[in-house]
């Protein structure tokens, strides 16, 4: 029996306390300390979670005694924090979108991997029962060569005029629909098909936010001939909660995946995979397998327990810093493409 893994949590916002609660249920883990500037939150955590609380990450790292950290801070802060975490030789799980530049992301990926430190970014779709099943089917060639996809996300997150409060109100801090929402859809595309070779036809639209986009659309092209669309909107009040959907078309079949399940259409039956000719439906109730502890979705537990396993087994995670840096490259390509498109529209 190993000594328990000692974990510190930096940032006790909504994701911070969610991850804190989940990882605290792992039998081999002890959450020993947290860092957050809010005295109100710290007071609650000291009293109800029995952890030592600090107001800065520097104080948390200085105190020592940790094996790993979970970082759930606004992304603009993450490069500096992760550099310090790396100097202290700690494994790190970071909430998406990780950092705000692909260059910084690649640099951190190289330094963590070079030091043999486990590194993971919280693109949680990679641990979702439906999307993981879709990836398995795509990689096993069930749809033959894939020609086309469409990745969509909708939510009622910002449905009123925003006054520009909080870190979410500006790009410089990592706010906006592209970092906060579209990044999930982009990462899912990378996870399924690899990083696109070319980004075209992008637009960023403001609806209710003052300084950042609420709608993101783009076209992704691959040297192999594969192409796909990204369409995300977080100001759509017709949705009660976030919805995530991807459609994949290949020469031997098609799949539509969302949080409710997987619909598969095959012109010919695929007996090895138990799929009939025509439409097949695999609902979330068929695809989901329970996790040891549930909070907000199986995938949240699975990704953190996988982080612990990766540390124990000294292996890579399902979403490394390098994977997240690739997603940031696409985010940057969308920004650049939109700048071009804007100038063309004005001219």
């Amino acid at each position: 029996m190993n000594a328990p893994l000692k974990i510190g949590i930096i940032g006790s916002g909504r994701m911070g306390i969610t991850h804190h609660s989940i990882i605290n249920t792992h039998p081999d883990v002890r959450v020993v300390a947290t860092a957050d500037p809010s005295m109100v939150i710290n007071k609650l955590l000291a009293k109800y979670a029995g952890v030592r609380t600090h107001r800065t990450y520097e104080a948390l790292l200085r105190e020592g005694g940790l094996d790993a950290v979970l970082l759930c801070t606004p992304p603009a802060a993450n490069h500096a924090i992760l550099t310090a975490v790396r100097q202290h030789g700690l494994h790190a799980f970071v909430e998406k979108p990780f950092v705000l530049s692909a260059t910084q992301g690649r640099e951190l990926a190289a330094s963590f991997s070079g030091a043999g430190l486990v590194n993971q970014v919280g693109y949680v779709n990679r641990f979702n029962d439906v999307f993981f099943q879709l990836r398995t089917l795509v990689s096993e060639g069930v749809f033959g060569r894939v020609h086309q996809f469409r990745s969509e996300m909708y939510s009622p997150t910002i449905v009123r005029q925003q006054k520009g409060e909080g870190w979410r109100a500006s790009h410089a801090n990592g706010g906006g629909a592209i970092y906060e929402m579209a990044s999930h859809a982009i990462d899912l595309i990378n996870f399924l098909f690899g990083k696109p070779d070319l980004v075209k036809g992008s637009s960023l639209t403001r609806v209710f936010s003052e300084n950042v986009e609420d709608i993101v659309t783009s076209t992704f092209l691959y040297k192999t001939g594969l192409s796909g669309l990204l369409y995300t909107n977080w100001s759509d009040a017709s949705y009660r909660k976030p919805a995530n959907r991807i459609e994949v078309y290949g020469e031997r079949g098609k799949a539509i995946a969302d949080q409710h399940g997987l619909k598969i259409h095959l012109p010919e039956a695929n007996e090895a995979h138990g799929l009939a000719a025509g439409w097949n439906q695999r609902s979330i109730t068929d695809l989901s397998t329970p996790v040891p502890f549930y909070l907000r979705g199986n995938e949240f537990t699975r990704q953190l327990y996988d982080f612990v396993d990766a540390i124990r087994m000294n292996r890579n995670t399902r979403c490394t810093f390098s994977d997240a840096a690739a997603t940031l490259e696409i985010v940057e390509a969308i920004f650049a493409d939109w700048q071009n498109n804007k100038s063309e529209l004005v001219a």
């Binding site: 006790s12 916002g13 909504r14 306390i17 969610t18 804190h20 609660s21 989940i22 605290n24 249920t25 809010s38 005295m39 109100v40 939150i41 007071k43 609650l44 009293k47 109800y48 979670a49 029995g50 009622p156 997150t157 910002i158 925003q162 409060e165 909080g166 870190w167 979410r168 017709s238 009660r240 909660k241 919805a243 969302d258 409710h260 399940g261 609902s283 979330i284 109730t285 068929d286 989901s288 329970p290 996790v291 040891p292 502890f293 549930y294 909070l295 907000r296």
Partner: protein, 294 residues
């Protein structure tokens, strides 16, 4: 004892785990309060006398009509659940954690009772977390004033978050507040029934209603169905009362099969939602038909 059959509310608010289309369709249909009361009418005609309702943005209008129609309706036992999780999630997304907390506390203005206490607390940073919890509970519960409240459920997003922290204090405080202030039983909704049960036993918190997904295919049952069955089999209803939800696993299990499974478990209560007269009658018949022997 709690009611064997409780009529839930998911069908009214566009909640369907299997289909977004079906959910939107239902939300459209029930935008009109008359249509909601038509369905409650079917439920009462089928013999149901217990209602579970989440404190969401339509709950006040629904409760107002129940209060206004009191003399025309049979006596109803109420099983509210609090809070409305999307309200909190939305606030956090817009304002961040501390901003959201302030938004909640000052929702009725700085001059309101809650606002005044909160203002003092924020200024001195010496606020009392227990008092804060009680204020938030009481604020949600104003929706249900004047109704015969039997159990007040805390939503699973809060229960399971606190459960992960493994600290008894919030559970003890919540349960004692519900008993004292409302003369009702505390209820806890969870997706981790075996773990919650184990902790409640360890912490000496008894006579609590535990509501959880319980179904034949083990959907949303963490860590697994066998652990649920073991805990349920060994329980004495004087210690804890179990209420099953998601018994059909969002429609994945046919009703006859689903309730044949549920009825042979040592479960005290079942909450279900349906919107047609036929489905409501059929469900009530399959639950009460085989379930009295415990």
């Amino acid at each position: 004892m709690i009611d064997r059959v409780v009529f839930g509310d998911n069908q009214f608010f566009g909640i369907n785990h299997m289909s977004q289309d079906k959910a939107s369709e239902q939300a459209k249909r029930f935008a009109d309060l008359d249509r909601i009361f038509e369905v409650y009418g079917y439920a009462f005609e089928a013999g149901i006398r217990a209602v579970m309702l989440n404190s969401n943005d339509r709950a006040l209008a629904i409760c107002d009509r129940f209060r206004a129609m009191k003399s025309q309706l049979p006596p109803i036992a109420w099983y509210p659940s609090i809070p409305y999780p999307h309200k909190y999630a939305g606030l956090v997304a817009e304002k961040g954690m501390v901003g959201a907390l302030q938004g909640l506390l000052f929702a009725d203005g700085a001059g309101s009772a809650l606002g005044k206490i909160a203002q003092g607390a924020m200024a001195t940073l010496s606020f009392d977390a227990v008092r804060l919890m009680r204020m938030l509970v009481d604020q949600e519960m104003t929706i249900f004033r004047g109704l015969d409240v039997r159990v007040v459920f805390l939503q699973n997003i809060i229960v399971d978050l606190m459960l992960g922290f493994e600290t008894p204090a919030p559970f003890i405080e919540y349960c004692s507040h519900i008993r004292k202030r409302y003369g009702a039983k505390p209820g806890l909704i969870t997706q981790n029934l075996p773990l919650l049960h184990r902790r409640l036993v360890e912490w000496g918190i008894k006579d609590v209603v535990i509501c959880s997904s319980i179904n034949k295919i083990g959907y949303l049952m963490s860590p697994d169905r066998a652990s649920y069955e073991a805990v349920i089999a060994q329980n004495h209803p004087a210690d804890y009362q179990f209420m099953a939800m998601s018994t059909l696993a969002s429609g994945a299990i046919p009703p006859t099969e689903a309730y044949a499974y549920i009825n042979q478990l040592n479960i005290q209560s079942i909450v279900f939602g349906a919107s047609s007269r036929a489905n409501i009658e059929k469900t009530v018949a399959s639950i009460t038909g085989g379930g009295e022997a415990q």
